[in-house]
C-alpha cells in the first residue's frame, strides 16, 4: 500500500485510563516492523486523571516526522469515546478523514456535576458524519467484555483499525506484537480482543 504523499496521520483519542498509550504503542511497533518510519506523540499528564488524551501516530515511507499532526491533517481518527472523537476531529479532521469510534460514552466530572451536559450519543455520531468521509461505529467495550475485561476496548479498537485496511499494517504483525507486549498480562485475552475487533470492523457498514 502506498501512502498519499508518503505520509499517514492517525490520531487515537479518548479519556485518561482507556489505554491510549498502549494502543498507540502496539500499533506503532507493528508499523516499524512493517518497515515504516513512525513517530508517536502522546499526552501523558492527564493520562491517569480522566482528562482528554490523544496519541498522534504518523507513518511515513520516507522520513521521520515530528510528533504532532498539523491542524486538519488527520487521515484516520480512532475514537475510544464519542465526544473525544468529535473534539479531535474539530481540530484535526477534514472531509477525507476516516473515523472508527467506540460508541460507549465516558462521562466527565463536569457532566456528572451538572456543569456541562453530555449530548445524546446519536447526535454526536451525526455531528461526526457531517465532518468526515466515513464513520464506523463499534461497541468495542461490549466486545472487550466478551474477551474477558472491558478495559481491553483499546485492543479491540486496534483490531478494528488494522482490520479496516485503512492503515497499511499487517494483521499478522500486530498479532506478534500483542503476544510479546502482553506476554505476562493475559496474552490470550488480549489476542481475543484484537481478533474480535478485526472481525467486527469487517462486518460493520460505515455511516
Amino acid at each position: 500500500m502506498t501512502l498519499e504523499k508518503g505520509l499517514l496521520n492517525i490520531i487515537i483519542t479518548g479519556v485518561g485510563g482507556q489505554g491510549n498509550v498502549v494502543a498507540s504503542q502496539i500499533f506503532a511497533s507493528a508499523a516499524v516492523r512493517d518497515g515504516f518510519y513512525v513517530s508517536v506523540g502522546e499526552t501523558y499528564g492527564a493520562a491517569q486523571r480522566g482528562g482528554a488524551v490523544m496519541s498522534h501516530v504518523r507513518l511515513s515511507e520516507e522520513t521521520q516526522y515530528g510528533p504532532l499532526t498539523p491542524e486538519g491533517r488527520a487521515h484516520i481518527v480512532l475514537g475510544f469515546e464519542p465526544v473525544e472523537c468529535l473534539r479531535t476531529i474539530g481540530s484535526f479532521g477534514n472531509e477525507k478523514t476516516k473515523v472508527i469510534v467506540n460508541s460507549r460514552p465516558v462521562y466527565s466530572i463536569d457532566v456528572l456535576s451538572g456543569v456541562s451536559k453530555y449530548p445524546a450519543v446519536e447526535d454526536v455520531l451525526k455531528a461526526i458524519t457531517e465532518l468526515v468521509y466515513s464513520l464506523h461505529v463499534v461497541e468495542a467495550t461490549e466486545l472487550a467484555k466478551r474477551a474477558g475485561d472491558p478495559i481491553m476496548q483499546n485492543v479491540v479498537m486496534v483490531g478494528c483499525l488494522v482490520g479496516s485496511g485503512f492503515a497499511p499494517v499487517k494483521v499478522e504483525t500486530l498479532r506478534e506484537v500483542i503476544k510479546e507486549t502482553f506476554a505476562k498480562r493475559r496474552p490470550e485475552a488480549n489476542l481475543k480482543a484484537f481478533e474480535l475487533g478485526v472481525k467486527e470492523i469487517k462486518r460493520t457498514s460505515p455511516l
Binding site: Q48, G72, S108, L112
Partner: protein, 643 residues
C-alpha cells in the same frame, strides 16, 4: 524485555524519547545513575533501573534532585560515568550544587538531563532550563529526534569526560514522551573502578582559587565551542545562500522542516538546525548570518537562541554582516495561544510565522469547514476536567479536610503541594487548597500563614503534601515550623508511592529503584522526632478522619495528620468490592441531596441514570472503595464485599 536493553547493533526499534536517552547512557557505558521522578523525565531512570542488574551498573531514586546531582557528581569525581535526570523544576532544586560542581570539574563523564514542559502539561511552570546551562557556563545539547536523544546522550559522556565538566542535555515533553524509530548502537560495558586518591581534592574553591577555577571553566567552554563548530548534530538544509533562514533547535527542527515542506518553500528558505546550543557554535552560525537578510527563530519556550544569535549578529555588524531582520518571540511571530514565549511549538505555529513573515500563503482548512466544526463542537462537546481517579484516597482526604474546616468554622487556610493532590485546588478536591507552587512550598508557606497572628491574621492553617514530597522537600519546613513556633496542621497524604509520576518508590516504601528491599523510613517517626503531635488514620474511615482533623485544629503548635491508604492504581486489589445503587431506595431528585453522589462527590464511577432519574454506578469505572456509600443520605448505595 524492553527495546532499550536489546544488544543488537543496527536494529531499528521504536523508542520513547526518554528510553532513547536511557539507551544512549547504556551505549556510553554508564556506571551510576540518579534522579527524582518528575514529568516529563521520569521514564529515563525507570528504563535504566530495569536494565541495571543485567548490565551491572547502579541506579537510585534519590530523595530529591540536589541529592541526586550530588551523588552522581561524587561518582563522577571518582572516574565513574554518571547521569542525573530530572524535570525542569528539579533543575531549580539542584542548582546550588550545579553552580559549584561546574567549577570543581569532574573526572568521569557527568551528564545532567533536564526535561522541560512547554505548555506545562503536567508541571506548574514552563521554565526553560537552557538558561541554567548559560548561567552555570556548561555545555548544552538539545536533541531534536528520538535518534538524537540517544546519540547525543552518548556523546555527552565523551564530551564531559574529555573536558572535565558536567554537560547538560535538554529535552522537552514532546520529545521525552514521543516515540520514534531509533537505530541501536552497541551497548558498552567497561567495568570501571571508582578511585579517590590521597591527592584528590574536589572543590569550587573560594577567593583566588575560585577565580582560578572560574577561568579554567571558561577555557573548558571555549574548547566545547570549538568541538561544537564541527558537531554532526548541527546542519543546514535548503538553498545555500538563502535570504531567509530559520534557526532552530530541538523539536523546532521537525516542525520547521514540515512547515517548509507543506508550504513548498524548500527553494527559498534555509534551515540551520542546531543541536549544540551553548556555547553557540559562532563560526557556523556566522557563516549563515552572512547570507541571510531575514532570520526566523523556532525554539521551545524562551528566546534563548534568539538572544544569543542577536548578540553574535551585533558583533558581526562591524564585519559587514547584516542588516538582518529578526523574527521570533520578540517580534511576536512565534507565539502560542497566550502569546510569545508561552505554550509549546507545533507545525501550525511555524506555518503561521512563515505566512506572516514571507507573505506566503498556505491552504489551511476551508473557513467554512472550520466554522462548521466549531459550531458542532460548541453544541456537542462538554468540558472534560481532570479529577481524582475512581477509588482515589485523596478524594476522601479532601472531603475530610473540607468537613473538618467547616466544623471548625474559622475559615482555615489550606496550602497545596506538588503531586496528584495538586488537584485539590480544583472541584475534584472540592477546591479546598488555595496555594500551589513548587515541591515543599505547601508547608513552607504555611509556616508564615501560621505565624502572622501579630499582623492580624489568625486563621487555622492546614498544609498538604504527599508522601514522596514529604521526604523531598518538607522536612526543613517542618523543623522550621516547630523551631519558630508556627501553628499549623500538616496533612500528609501517604499512598505508599510516588503516584503522579508513574508509581516510583520513595524512602517510605521499603523498596529502592532497582527493586531491592530497603529500610522503611516512616513519616511518623520523623515527625515525632521533630516534636510534633502525630496521628495516623485511613481517610476511608471518614468519621474518624474528620474527628481527628477537627481535634487537631483546636490544638496549638505543629500537628501532623498522616492519611494512609495505598494508591489503588499502584496496588490494585485482586478482588474489588461490587458497589451498586439500590434504585428502589434512591429518591432521585426528590431526595433533597441535589444528586450528592454525582454533583458534589465527583467520582467518575458515580453516574446518573437519566431514564430512571436515579443514581447509578458505572461498574466499569468503579474501583470499589465504597466511600460514596458512606455519604449517601438514604444509604441507597450498597457495597457487596467479594468473598
Amino acid at each position: 524485555m524492553s527495546y532499550v536493553e536489546i544488544d543488537e547493533p543496527g536494529e531499528r526499534v521504536l523508542l520513547m524519547g526518554n528510553e532513547a536517552i536511557a539507551r544512549g547512557a547504556l551505549e556510553a557505558g554508564v556506571d551510576f545513575c540518579s534522579g527524582y521522578p518528575g514529568n516529563p523525565a521520569s521514564e529515563i531512570l525507570e528504563a535504566l533501573a530495569r536494565a541495571a542488574k543485567k548490565f551491572d551498573f547502579y541506579v537510585e531514586w534519590s530523595v530529591n534532585e540536589i541529592v541526586a546531582l550530588e551523588t552522581a557528581g561524587a561518582a563522577a569525581f571518582t572516574g565513574l560515568r554518571a547521569l542525573t535526570a530530572m524535570k525542569n523544576l528539579g533543575a531549580d532544586v539542584c542548582a546550588d550544587f550545579l553552580m559549584t560542581v561546574n567549577l570543581s570539574g569532574t573526572r568521569g563523564g557527568f551528564v545532567l538531563v533536564t526535561g522541560d514542559d512547554p505548555s506545562a502539561h503536567s508541571t506548574t511552570s514552563e521554565l526553560d532550563t537552557r538558561n541554567y546551562a548559560r548561567f552555570a557556563e556548561i555545555p548544552l545539547l538539545e536533541p531534536a529526534t528520538t535518534q538524537e536523544a540517544k546519540d547525543m546522550t552518548k556523546w555527552a559522556f565523551d564530551l564531559s569526560q574529555e573536558l572535565g565538566v558536567i554537560c547538560m542535555v535538554r529535552t522537552v515533553t514532546r520529545l521525552s514522551h514521543s516515540r520514534g524509530v531509533v537505530t541501536l548502537g552497541p551497548i558498552k560495558r567497561d567495568k570501571r573502578s571508582a578511585e579517590f586518591s590521597s591527592q584528590d581534592v574536589w572543590t569550587s574553591g573560594s577567593s583566588t582559587i575560585e577565580c582560578m577555577f572560574h577561568s579554567i571553566l571558561h577555557e573548558k567552554l571555549k574548547r566545547a565551542q570549538e568541538k561544537f563548530e564541527e558537531s554532526k548534530f548541527n546542519w543546514y538544509v535548503g538553498k545555500e545562500d538563502a535570504d531567509f533562514i530559520i534557526i532552530t533547535s530541538g523539536t523546532g527542527w521537525p516542525y520547521s522542516l514540515e512547515a517548509v515542506k507543506l508550504m513548498e518553500l524548500e527553494n527559498e528558505v534555509g534551515i540551520l538546525k542546531l543541536g549544540t546550543t551553548w556555547p553557540l557554535p559562532e563560526k557556523l552560525v556566522a557563516s549563515h548570518l552572512k547570507h541571510a537578510k531575514e532570520v526566523l527563530f523556532v525554539e521551545e519556550t524562551d528566546p534563548f537562541l534568539e538572544q544569543n544569535v542577536k548578540i553574535l549578529a551585533a558583533e558581526l555588524a562591524a564585519e559587514g554582516v547584516g542588516p538582518i531582520k529578526f523574527y521570533g518571540k520578540k517580534s511576536n511571530h512565534i507565539r502560542g495561544e497566550y502569546g510569545a514565549g508561552t505554550g509549546e511549538l507545533n507545525v501550525d505555529i511555524v506555518i503561521r510565522a512563515l505566512t506572516e513573515t514571507k507573505k506566503a500563503t498556505y491552504p489551511l482548512r476551508e473557513k467554512e469547514y472550520s466554522e462548521k466544526a466549531q459550531k458542532l463542537l460548541g453544541s456537542y462537546v462538554p468540558a472534560r476536567s481532570m479529577g481524582f481517579c475512581a477509588g482515589c484516597p485523596h478524594r476522601a482526604s479532601f472531603w475530610a479536610i473540607k468537613k473538618a474546616a467547616k466544623w471548625d468554622g474559622r475559615e482555615a487556610i489550606v496550602t497545596g503541594d506538588i503531586g496528584c493532590y495538586s488537584l485539590g485546588l480544583l472541584p475534584t478536591g472540592f477546591s479546598v487548597a488555595k496555594t500551589l507552587h513548587c515541591m515543599g512550598a505547601g508547608i513552607g508557606t504555611a509556616n508564615a500563614f501560621g505565624n502572622l497572628k501579630d499582623f492580624g491574621l489568625d486563621k487555622p492553617v492546614i498544609a498538604i503534601a504527599g508522601d514522596s514530597t514529604f521526604y523531598h522537600a518538607c522536612m526543613p519546613a517542618l523543623v522550621n515550623a516547630r523551631w519558630n513556633g508556627s501553628n499549623i496542621l500538616f496533612v500528609v497524604l501517604d499512598n505508599n508511592t510516588t503516584a503522579m509520576t508513574g508509581h516510583q518508590p520513595h524512602p517510605g516504601t521499603g523498596v529502592n529503584a532497582m527493586g531491592d528491599s530497603s529500610p522503611r523510613i516512616l513519616i511518623e517517626d520523623i515527625c515525632k522526632a521533630v516534636g510534633a503531635e502525630v496521628r495516623v488514620c485511613d481517610p476511608f474511615d471518614l468519621d474518624e478522619a474528620v474527628q481527628n482533623l477537627y481535634e487537631m485544629l483546636q490544638n496549638e503548635g505543629v500537628k501532623v495528620m498522616i492519611f494512609r491508604h495505598e494508591c489503588p492504581l499502584a496496588f490494585p486489589e485482586e478482588k474489588k468490592a461490587r458497589v451498586y445503587v439500590d434504585q428502589d431506595r434512591c429518591l432521585g431528585d426528590e431526595c433533597g441531596c441535589v444528586r450528592f453522589c454525582t454533583r458534589v462527590f465527583g467520582c467518575p464511577g458515580n453516574i446518573w441514570d437519566y431514564e430512571k432519574g436515579k443514581a447509578k454506578i458505572d461498574e466499569v469505572i468503579c474501583n470499589g472503595c465504597g466511600l460514596c456509600a458512606k455519604l449517601c443520605p438514604v444509604e441507597a448505595i450498597i457495597v457487596e464485599e467479594v468473598a
